[in-house]
Symmetry: C2
Subunit: 278 residues, 2 copies
Amino acid sequence: MEQIILDGKQVSKKVRESLKEKVTDLKAKGIIPCLATILVGDDPSSETYVKMKGNACEKVGIKSIRLHLPKETTTETLIETIENLNHDSSVHGILLQHPVPSHIDERAAFESIAIEKDVDGVTSAGYGQTALGFGKYPSCTPAAIMKIIDDYDIPVDGKHAVVVGRSPILGKPVSALLLNRNATVTTCHSHTTNLPEIVKQADIVIAAVGKPKFIQGDWIKKGAVILDAGYNKGNIGDIDYEACLENASAITPVPGGVGPVTISMLLKHTVEAAALTE
Amino acid sequence: MEQIILDGKQVSKKVRESLKEKVTDLKAKGIIPCLATILVGDDPSSETYVKMKGNACEKVGIKSIRLHLPKETTTETLIETIENLNHDSSVHGILLQHPVPSHIDERAAFESIAIEKDVDGVTSAGYGQTALGFGKYPSCTPAAIMKIIDDYDIPVDGKHAVVVGRSPILGKPVSALLLNRNATVTTCHSHTTNLPEIVKQADIVIAAVGKPKFIQGDWIKKGAVILDAGYNKGNIGDIDYEACLENASAITPVPGGVGPVTISMLLKHTVEAAALTE
């Protein structure tokens, strides 16, 4: 069976090229799209992620404002910082890098982001709009998964999608997006008792569990499409790639699959938010 | 196999008795819980529903304000009416009876309800909070389903729940509530291709499709729990009751199942909203 390798780098490249043009148009109208990123503390991988996002902005012409707050920052100070950005008309998108230090009420901080600047899709209000079908900025990884599906013309309507994971920015919103596109959706998680059996029914498998090589080759139905949103230490996804490849009809690699498209969705949402201020 | 008939009237009665006490307490503190209902137009069954809800309020001591707007009402006027209620501190809950006449943008009207008064659980913000696990007032029918499940100690954790239907106030939020209680949840709908097979896997079946006797007896796994949120003409639910009874371990009748508890959840949310103004 010949597999299609879903090339996230290629999908991402096309998105970023089209964004460059849009940014040029906006700048001609005097609008400079701008994403503010907030990093709290010194977690090295969070630092890397924020840097990657900021750099990606600049490559397509989006201005990047990078706030780095000390790890002692209180919830109140963080929320104040976010509210200042909410009121700053030169900022179109706000990204608070997850996770924040454990003494901070991360949910309260996320909720303080104005919905029109929630380009990372972390607020409950944004989630609600996405799930009810009229959200502007779904969380970026779910948006990336849908973008890959669309670019490769993968049929969703009437298909059985099995999502493994239920986090607020991944498993839950990707389940909602697939449901809104007329998939039958099963959402699985750590309390699911017969996971292999359930995954075996999937026409579309979404791996969003955060455990390296968790999803096994013999769980995959012949012809299934697999999108792996996992990104674990050592560039390893949530699926056992080599083993899963065998039965898949299409599959994302890690790295080079969902990851790069995720950042492109962040850029896309930021440009869209800027365009709405025209 | 002996079936438990899940007696919604009994569940409802207990809720309402406890609400009467809470209302008495609140009144002693000078707070009169108050629900405002809005009916637009002259649809006879909507009129009946609104009347039932208003009367149920009064029976437990909740004040009921009943606004009846003509069928020509515009979206703007309806939203203005809602905003006045949002600002009226004597009103604790607002219910806009669905459906409104077709020329009105119902979603815009729902969205204009202040989240702290959205006791019927219709706003996307309320939905988002419910789905992410910290919502105060889920939609009333999903809340009723969970209340019956809890009152009868039906295990949910690790069970496979199959929800048939995906409406914004029923199928989607009940899927979210069950997922948050650690069920594995499959949400099905009109585009689901192999519905009988999927329902056959369910430990818990939620019928929320709005088609009389839609779910057949031979779709039910032996020992499944069935909650029927359907209410079709002639007091007929969404399941073929007699046929489904055979394999079920527990089942809601129609009428007398989910229905009465739904109204009790509306009353409960209104009293809770009033208590928060203490």
